[in-house]
């Protein structure tokens, strides 16, 4: 019996997929990059950052949450979409305080790397300068909410991989902010540990391991060596930790 895998097309390229895979899953497996910040293969997709927006006909969907369906003609790496992605990235920049030169995450930061990838040369919009609380209560982990992009990765990593449920997002509109699941609301009173995935998965400098910020010199950091595309095509939570691989 002849076995044919169903396929989708991304920017004209035919890509096979397994039923149950999202457009993002199928594309990454085929080494086709769709920009993303709030998605991390192995965690339940969330679809909040909207960087992975793609167009199918006149419909606009997020690749990380949309099931691949045989025959889909998907536009991804187009001028229009990348321009919209750049605007969304600028929105994330101005909503928080992202001052790259003074941030210890610089060079390891996905938001910064995304800005480079999309050719973002300025913030474009006026800064919001939000007032958000800093939490240094934990012995080894710092939470600086002013750099949080509300991607929810730490929330999911803690729940799905660490089995802990340390974080949540509270509030709405631009008052949305990360909270800690402890009686005092402080990280120091939570059960997070330094080797938890939630302590490391932050794409920006909102959750940092203390006293390690400059172990790797600027110039030798992740995105000093590779683009976010190169990294994004190859990262995933190891299968034994992941929650839903078949």
């Amino acid at each position: 019996m002849q076995k044919t895998n169903p396929t989708i097309h991304v920017d004209g390229q035919e890509i096979p997929f397994k039923v149950g895979q999202t457009i993002m899953d199928a594309a990454l497996a085929a080494k086709v990059y769709i920009p993303h910040l709030c998605h991390y293969p192995g965690l339940t997709p969330h679809g909040n950052c909207k960087l992975c927006m793609v167009d199918i006909g006149n419909k606009n969907v997020t690749a990380c949450t949309t099931a691949a369906v045989a025959g889909q003609q998907i536009r991804n790496n187009t001028e229009t979409l990348n321009a919209a992605r750049k605007t969304v990235t600028q929105m994330l920049f101005i909503e928080g305080d992202h001052i790259c030169p003074s941030c210890e995450k610089t060079g390891n930061c996905k938001l910064q790397a995304m800005a480079y990838y999309l050719g973002m040369l300025d913030n474009h919009f006026p800064q919001f300068y939000p007032r958000r609380e800093m939490d240094a209560s934990h012995a080894t982990i710092l939470l600086d909410r002013s750099r949080c992009i509300l991607c929810d990765l730490c929330v999911r990593a803690s729940r799905e991989v660490d089995g802990k449920n340390v974080f949540a997002i509270a509030g709405r509109s631009t008052n949305a902010h990360l909270i800690v699941n402890s009686p005092s609301g402080k990280l120091g009173d939570s059960n997070i540990q330094t080797d938890d995935l939630a302590a490391h998965i932050c794409p920006v400098g909102a959750i940092l391991i203390k006293e390690q910020g400059y172990d790797v010199p600027i110039g030798q950091r992740i995105y000093d060596q590779q683009t976010i595309r190169d990294v994004g095509l190859n990262e995933a939570i190891p299968e034994k930790q992941g929650n839903h691989h078949d």
């Binding site: 909207k50 449920n165 509030g171 631009t174 949305a176 909270i179 009686p183 005092s184």
Partner: protein, 588 residues
Amino acid sequence: MNPCIQAPTNSASPHLLHILYALQQQYRHISAESINQVAASLDLPVSQVAAVVEFYAFFSREPCGRYHLLLSNCTSCGYLAGDTNLLLALSQRMGVNPGKTRADGLVSLGETSCIGLCDQGAALLVNSVPLVARDLDRVEQMAQLITTETPLAHWPDEWFCIQNRIPKPGLLLQHRWDAGAGLRAALLCGVTETLARIQQSGLRGRGGAGFNTGTKWQSCLAAPGAAHYVICNADEGEPGTFKDRVLLQHHADTMVEGMTLCAFVIGAEKGFVYLRGEYRYLLPHLQAVLAQRRQSGLLGACILGQREFNFDIELVVGAGAYICGEESALIESLEGKPGIPRVRPPFPVTQGYLGQPTVVNNVETFIAAAHIACRGSAWFAAVGTAASTGSKILSISGDCQSPGIYEYPFGVCVQQVLDDCGADQVQAVQVGGPSGTLLGKDAFNRALGFEDLSTGGSFLIFGQQRDLLTVNRNFARFFAHESCGFCTPCRVGTQLLKNGLDKIIEGNATPADVDEITRLGLLVNHRSHCGLGQTAANHLLQGLAHFPAAVTQRLTQADFTPQFDLDAALEAARQITQRDDADAHLDN
């Protein structure tokens, strides 16, 4: 006594939102200690309870005043609806800034999105009870009663009296309702025929999206699940909408019957009415309606004596979040979570409440379904147009002589509606609320219906004297405030749109800023996660297209002007240094 008629107790359900409401009323805020206690008692994560407290506008972490005043900021029932800025007047009279609690804890003042009293005039919630503020006189008297700490029970009754006006009843509203008639008809003809009646009637959802009701019920019936649920969306939050307020007051029995019919069709045993927090005052009435129906064997166990027909309804009251009118956000809220819309598909008909197949319909839709069940599909389909059968109930407010509830056959044109409610000198009409369609004079011949002007029922009329750009700003503030914060384009974009409109209105914008706000509006509409963001820029884009002069007359022609007034920004410095000489000012 027939055990089948035994009424279940209807004690307040231990829903998280209800527990938090009780705490908010008792302590005027919800403390960290309370959050921990609630989490422990319900066995929920502290973070979930905290996230819910911070999501809903009627909960606060900081203490509110003993008199907590939330003034509607709707264009029809808001504090700017009349000649005087009532928020400003109250703020000055009570000595407290909006958004703050006075130091002595007596009074706190704030704004809230439309509270559905648009046909009554300027209105507010005092300790969550709706009150028609009407005018400056009444606000002055109110301030006096607060100063003397007069209990609300001793405030004049007529201030709390909400008189419903139905100038034009139609297909649904003009008929007397015979409780149980729809159910008896359904039991006679069975599930298949009842569903067929709904399908053949062509009934589509009255919330505005217009999904075919029969198709929805059939999909839910066909979806496998451990249980099926019926939810009535009574969370009308679209500014300018108040029809559900009137329907719940006068036609709740019909609505409950519609829900029960749906339960009969899809095989549900449990239903919810999700009532917006602003309508909490209707709760005793709704509880009485449910109790009466249980007494009459129309709700609860063994409905109309049928052993297999068990269905009951729980009332859940929201806490101030427009987004919960979106069905999947509503379900999240019912589940005790912040009202963040889910990724769809899967749709609620297959995975809704607790992941089970769920029908969510509007109040008006259930009322129509009940009538169709007993009067037949032909009776319903004979009215309206081919694509939009039946009638539409409109909430009419704004610049007209007779605001109120009007019911029309679908296909009626806007001009007809304007003539009926006594609106002349009309500049524009906003059909379907801020997320709907802005029409100028040249479009008043358009017809209401899913094929042309789809609407949930909000019908806001703006006379010639109105400054439409301030209406746009009002709407932009509404969306920025109500965005759930989940996705970037809506969370940040609605804020930027609001700021952009402020810049234009303050006279600091150039033509380039208009291009910018247009680009941004398109992005927010095209790239947002749910219907809120996808419609948030409609009013602005349509305003720019149909009323460009409202914008262009405010633009400066300079190539560049700063976002803010440089000289005004120095005011604080001037005050500190006690200077006001020429050198302490910038040349503008």
